[in-house]
């Protein structure tokens, strides 16, 4: 039997997930049967692994687990469905579709993700097909929103430089399309595509991925300086737009970033990517494809925890990678060009773009779009979508921009913003405006502690401390996740909390304000009182002792509260 000749560097037996993918016939598995099984709202774990590649995975309402067990009911199984749009750009029609399916099939809310995607939670197995079809009919997709493939390509939504954005967005979409899986399984399962015996061989079916896809997820993001809102250094493959004299010249290329790690396993660590050179826009797709194929061929398929691209590069060295890339490209990268980032946050409120159109950056706490008694955010956005002729842009900070509003429409949109009290966050502290939290409980199966449901409460308690020392308008990047997989990119935040157990967090300090430096563990396994007790004196000291324009993440290092992390490989080093 032919033994995967494309993956020679690995001698160790492949992990079970690799086997599942290999046997799946290009992501089909037994999904057709298990999705139809009427006795359970779940699907078997093997199929769930494949399901991720279709943009969804099974979760259950963990709040109800014990209660339902006693009631002789299976867990409240439900599916998270991730809908991707390259660069987070969607039309008003697409927004209205999302609003509709969220109410009809999901839990009535939309979650904006840190990768400019939509998430629907609480979709039942029986409703998946209708939901995915609705998404597809609106020209969006869930394919490859999760799984061991290239994920949603992130792109700065910067409304200042409208022409540049349009151009960068164009390339982001091209890269995204180019790296889409080609399997027909998606059409067969969800869109009633005819099931045909595919006579194409592996090369034809998945010319880039092959039958086993990538060893792990792969993330690409494109930043447009001075904004690093996409956290370009957290990406497996990052591109930094180089704009000279108002012209897009090309992109610096950075490789080997990634957030995820496991508690207690220092062989796993977050990493920031390294800039290796420059390419022109026309070379972008080639660079992306070849980088992906290098990871496909050299990534670790034996140990999943060690399978991300960052380990492939760290294990073999950056020089090796550049050499391999050059060999596959058949040409050499140019030297990287200078660039400068100012921050990784959003610019809230109304701004006028260079094309004369207006943009309103809305603050969405933790990316959760929903209606509450006193804040009808979801309805407000729906009403805006009904009259809006521009587009919506999901930001990498889980916010939303009502974008490309023509001057004569601005009044109408403004009226709706006022009517529904939609906020740009100006009455919140700058800390809250720079905050992010992952979903965590009750739906995320990985969660160890609360995140989205808890961070606002914690901020309520930090805000008075800031006010006391006059830091309400000081932007400090603060992020929280329920587990160390890094969905809200906490390892790049100036202050971060990573869930350890119920009510307990590891606290990290010292990330770079522009997303350029990893933070470091400050205190382990602490609860709220110790968090607040630690922060209070530090914030007071920062207020009084900081240098001009010195960011909190830099200050805590200078003040000796935490050691600087220079590279992912010394992330765990203490003292």
């Amino acid at each position: 039997m032919k033994e995967y000749p494309k993956y020679p560097p690995q001698d160790a037996p492949h992990s079970d997930v690799e086997e599942i993918k290999r046997r799946s016939m290009y992501l089909r598995g037994s999904l057709l049967e298990t999705l139809a099984d009427p006795i359970t709202g779940s699907i078997p774990e093997d199929d769930n692994r494949l399901m991720k590649h279709h943009g969804s995975y099974m979760q259950d309402d963990r709040d109800l687990r014990n209660e339902r067990h006693k009631q002789k009911l299976e867990p409240a199984y439900q599916f998270m469905l991730r809908v991707r749009a390259a660069g987070g750009v969607v039309t008003p029609e697409q927004w209205l579709m999302m609003d509709e399916v969220a109410h009809k099939y999901a839990n009535g809310t939309i979650r904006l993700t840190t990768r400019q995607s939509f998430q629907l939670h609480g979709v039942l197995k029986w409703d998946l097909k209708n939901t995915i079809r609705a998404v597809n009919d609106a020209l969006l997709s869930t394919l490859a929103a999760c799984g061991d493939v290239n994920r949603n390509v992130m792109c700065n939504p910067n409304p200042f430089q409208s022409e540049i954005h349009a151009e960068v967005y164009h390339w982001a979409s091209k890269v995204s399309d180019h790296l889409d899986p080609r399997t027909r399984a998606y059409h067969e399962l969800w869109l009633d595509g005819e099931k045909i015996i595919d006579s194409r061989d592996n090369e034809e079916q998945e010319p880039i991925y092959g039958p086993v896809y990538l060893p792990r997820k792969f993330k690409i993001g494109i930043a447009v300086p001075p904004s690093n809102d996409v956290d370009v250094f957290s990406q497996d493959l990052g591109f930094i737009a180089i704009v000279e004299e108002g012209q897009l010249k090309g992109f610096n290329i950075s490789v080997g970033g990634g957030m995820g790690m496991s508690h207690g396993d220092s062989k796993t660590y977050p990493q920031v990517s390294k800039v290796i050179g420059f390419c022109t826009p026309e070379q972008l797709i080639d660079v992306a494809e070849k980088t992906v194929t290098i990871q496909r061929d050299y990534g670790d398929r034996a140990v999943r925890k060690h399978a991300r691209f960052k380990y492939t590069i760290d294990d073999r060295g950056l020089d090796w990678f550049v050499q391999e890339l050059t060999a596959r490209l058949g040409w050499s990268l140019e030297t990287a060009r200078p660039f400068h980032f100012e921050d990784n946050g959003d610019r809230y409120g109304w701004v006028k773009g260079s094309n004369g159109k207006w943009h309103f950056n809305l603050f969405v706490q933790n990316g959760r779009v929903k209606d509450e008694d006193s804040y009808l955010l979801m309805t407000g956005l729906k009403e805006i979508a009904k009259i809006h002729t521009g587009d919506f842009r999901l930001t990498p900070n889980q916010n939303i921009i009502i974008s490309n509003v023509s001057p004569n429409k601005k009044k109408n949109i403004e009226n709706l913003i006022r009517q529904y009290g939609l906020t740009d966050g100006q009455h919140y502290s700058a800390l809250r405006r720079s905050s992010m939290a992952c979903v965590s409980f009750p739906t995320c199966g990985l969660a160890m502690a609360e995140s989205e449901r808890y961070l606002p409460t914690l901020l309520d308690k930090i805000d008075p401390m800031l006010k006391e020392v006059g830091l309400e308008e000081e932007s400090i990047v603060i992020r929280m996740t329920g587990c160390p997989n890094g969905c809200a990119r906490p390892m790049l935040a100036e202050i971060a909390f990573i869930g350890k157990g119920p009510g307990k967090y590891n606290m990290y300090l010292g990330g770079g304000h522009t997303g350029n430096r990893l933070n470091k563990l400050y205190k382990e396994n602490i609860g709220e009182s110790e968090i607040l007790g630690s922060l209070k004196p530090m914030l007071a000291q920062y207020a009084s002792d900081r240098f001009t324009n010195e960011h909190f993440g830099d200050f805590v290092i200078r003040a000796g509260h935490i050691r600087e992390t220079f590279d992912g490989q010394d992330f765990h080093a203490q003292g």
Binding site: P38, I39, T40, G41, L64, E67, R68, H69, K70, Q71, K72, L73, E74, A76, L124, W126
Partner: protein, 619 residues
């Protein structure tokens, strides 16, 4: 206690033999032996042992054979045939009881259910006793339908030599009270029969009235052999030695082991799963049997009633004919029915109060109005609507019916849950005329019965809803909602006994997520193979409402194939809609898959019923 010559009727040799044997017996053997000895006494010393043994061992379950010859005695030539038509088992038990008593008096008795009685023999019968209950809108029980239809058909023979009497069971809160009994009584007369004792129509609390009927027929048949009755009683109590001392008339106080709501959050439903302990009761049951529960009325309703009538809760009122007295509030809580109105009660109250509005309600031309009123009003409505102020407790309370027991299909297998009985009860709550209404028993279970507390129960055997004797026979079970309860017992039993027959369950309710009763247990049984397949219909998860009969029709081909392989069909749950729709679906399936005419399909199902391969427990 060791047996000795001095403390027993045995001689030395017998005593020694017994003393050697008795200590070696395990419980089940002792129970068996007790029943055996009691039974051979009935059977006239050891004749036809096999028949007696099998029926004793099987508890109260009637063997599947067509008729049970209770006696082979030759001392009397007088023969009596007892046929019963039973839905829940009461007529069955009463029919067998009267047979035993006749047998004890030396009659040659043939006792049979209507479902298995050979109608061709009717012409030869001299003495016929009929015990039959009435269902819903005045219909006969399922398994009595062929017998009923035969008697009312042109094929029915003239019966000029027949002596007969009818005992009807029913419920006065239904419009067509004891209608089937009345029909039989009238029809036998039309066919030339001679009524030897007047028909007795029993209300839900039937013991006393049924006892009187039995005495009357015994007298009529035995032509004055009343002196034998004392002997009958002696034998009766002897026979009970092997059984539990607890019964419908002497319920067991069962402790609640667990009481939980099976419906998940967000459900429109509440369904209690109640586990009760039978420890120390010596009560036994089989899958398909029911549990009787004596509930208490809702304290709020009792208090409202007392207040509306201006009564004194502490006043003593009679609670039985023998003159026992209790405080009014207790009596209304535990002894009397106050949630259901009956025609006789209305008549008596009208007489008592002279209420003109009540008199009008019962007068000619107001039949529909009366029907509607009786259908959903309770005693408090009656008091308020007809201003019955001034009636005393002493006057009104004696007119009330005893609170009847509620029957629930048992949801557990005794084999897999020794000393326990489980039930599945949907809580009934609704609003009527601006007042919250409660299902008496279901709301008591839901609100006022916690673990550790006790409730009076008894076992109601139901021979008409039993697993096939052959463990290899495939079974098809249709039980939406709480109708699934007995099938939990069926599958639990089949798992425990390692039965190899295939099984197929159709289940349905409103929502998959919250209303899938016992979901994880079915999943387990499907995985382990005790349950072969399962189809579900959740009516409110889709725009289109889907019910179990739709799933049956979708699977018509396989379902027909199972029937052709000899599968037994079971239907449990709502009678009015579900059981009717399921029956119609079965007819359609037979027409479609078996190429049968509508008549032939109906015949097919009738035959299944007669072969006990189509059994229903509907309510």
């Amino acid at each position: 206690m060791e047996l000795q010559v001095t403390n027993s009727p045995f001689n030395q040799e017998q005593v020694e033999l017994l003393n050697r044997l008795l200590p070696t017996l395990v419980d089940s053997q002792r129970i068996w032996l007790g029943g055996y000895l009691a039974a051979i006494q009935y059977a006239g010393i050891g004749t036809n042992q096999n028949a007696v043994l099998s029926s004793t061992v099987a508890g109260d379950t009637a063997p599947a054979a067509s008729a049970i010859p209770v006696s082979q005695s030759s001392t009397q030539s007088k023969s009596v045939t007892v046929v019963f038509g039973s839905q829940t088992g009461n007529s069955d038990a009463l029919g067998k009881k009267v047979a035993k008593k006749l047998e004890a008096q030396g009659f040659e008795v043939t006792v049979s259910s209507m479902g298995s009685y050979k109608t061709g023999n009717l012409k030869k019968v001299e003495n016929l006793l009929i015990v039959v209950s009435t269902q819903g809108e005045g219909e006969p029980p399922d398994n009595a339908i062929p017998f009923y239809e035969f008697l009312f058909s042109k094929r029915a023979p003239q019966l000029p030599n027949l002596r007969y009497s009818v005992l009807g069971l029913g419920d006065t809160s239904y419009e067509f009270f004891c209608q089937t009994g009345k029909d039989f009584d009238k029809r036998l007369e039309e066919l030339g029969g001679h009524r030897i004792a007047d028909r007795v129509d029993c209300d839900v609390d039937f013991d006393e009235a049924a006892g009187e009927w039995i005495e009357k027929v015994l007298l009529a048949l035995g032509q004055g052999q009343a002196d034998l009755l004392s002997e009958v009683k002696a034998i009766d109590s002897g026979a009970l030695a092997s059984e539990s001392e607890f019964s419908r008339t002497n319920p067991f106080q069962a402790e609640v082991l667990q009481n939980l709501n099976l419906n998940g959050r967000g459900s429109q439903r509440e369904t209690r799963h109640v586990e009760l302990s039978l420890e120390g009761s010596n009560l036994h049951y089989q899958p398909g049997d029911s549990l009787g529960i004596y509930p208490e009325n809702h304290p709020r309703l009792v208090d409202e009633l007392i207040e509306a009538l201006g009564w004194n809760a502490q006043e003593l009122v009679p609670v039985s004919k023998s003159g026992d007295q209790q405080l009014l509030r207790n009596a209304l809580l535990r002894h009397f029915e106050i949630t259901v109105l009956t025609k006789p009660l209305l008549a008596q109250i009208t007489e008592l109060t002279g209420s003109p509005s009540l008199a009008i309600l019962q007068s000619a031309g107001h039949e529909q109005e009366l029907r509607d009123y009786l259908a959903d009003r309770d005693l408090l409505d009656l008091v308020v609507d007809h201003s019955l102020i001034g009636v005393t407790a002493q006057q009104l309370v004696p007119l009330l019916r005893k609170i009847p027991a509620r029957l629930y299909s048992i949801a557990s297998s005794l084999q897999s849950n020794p000393d326990e009985v489980h039930i599945t009860v949907r809580t009934v709550r609704y609003d009527l005329q601006g007042r919250d209404r409660y299902g008496v028993c279901s709301v008591q279970l839901a609100e006022r019965l916690e673990s550790g507390e006790s409730i009076p129960v008894y076992i109601q055997h139901n021979p008409n809803f039993k697993l096939p004797e052959d463990p290899n026979t495939p079974i098809i079970m249709i039980g939406p909602g709480t109708g699934v309860a007995p099938f939990r017992a069926f599958i639990g039993e089949r798992e425990e006994t390692g039965a190899q027959g295939k099984s197929w369950l159709f289940y349905g309710d409103q929502h998959f997520s919250t209303d899938f009763l016992y979901q994880t247990e079915w999943q387990h049984w499907l995985k382990e193979g005790a349950l072969t397949r399962m189809d579900v219909a959740f009516s409110r998860d889709r725009d289109q409402k889907v019910y179990v009969q739709h799933r049956m029709l979708e699977k018509a081909k396989e379902l027909y194939q199972w029937l052709q392989e000899g599968a037994a069909l079971y239907v449990c749950g709502d009678e009015k809609k579900m059981a009717h729709d399921v029956h119609a679906a079965l007819v359609t399936i037979l027409e479609q898959e078996g190429n049968l005419s509508p008549e032939a399909a109906a015949d097919y199902l009738t035959q299944l019923q007669q072969q006990k391969r189509y059994q229903r427990d509907v309510y």
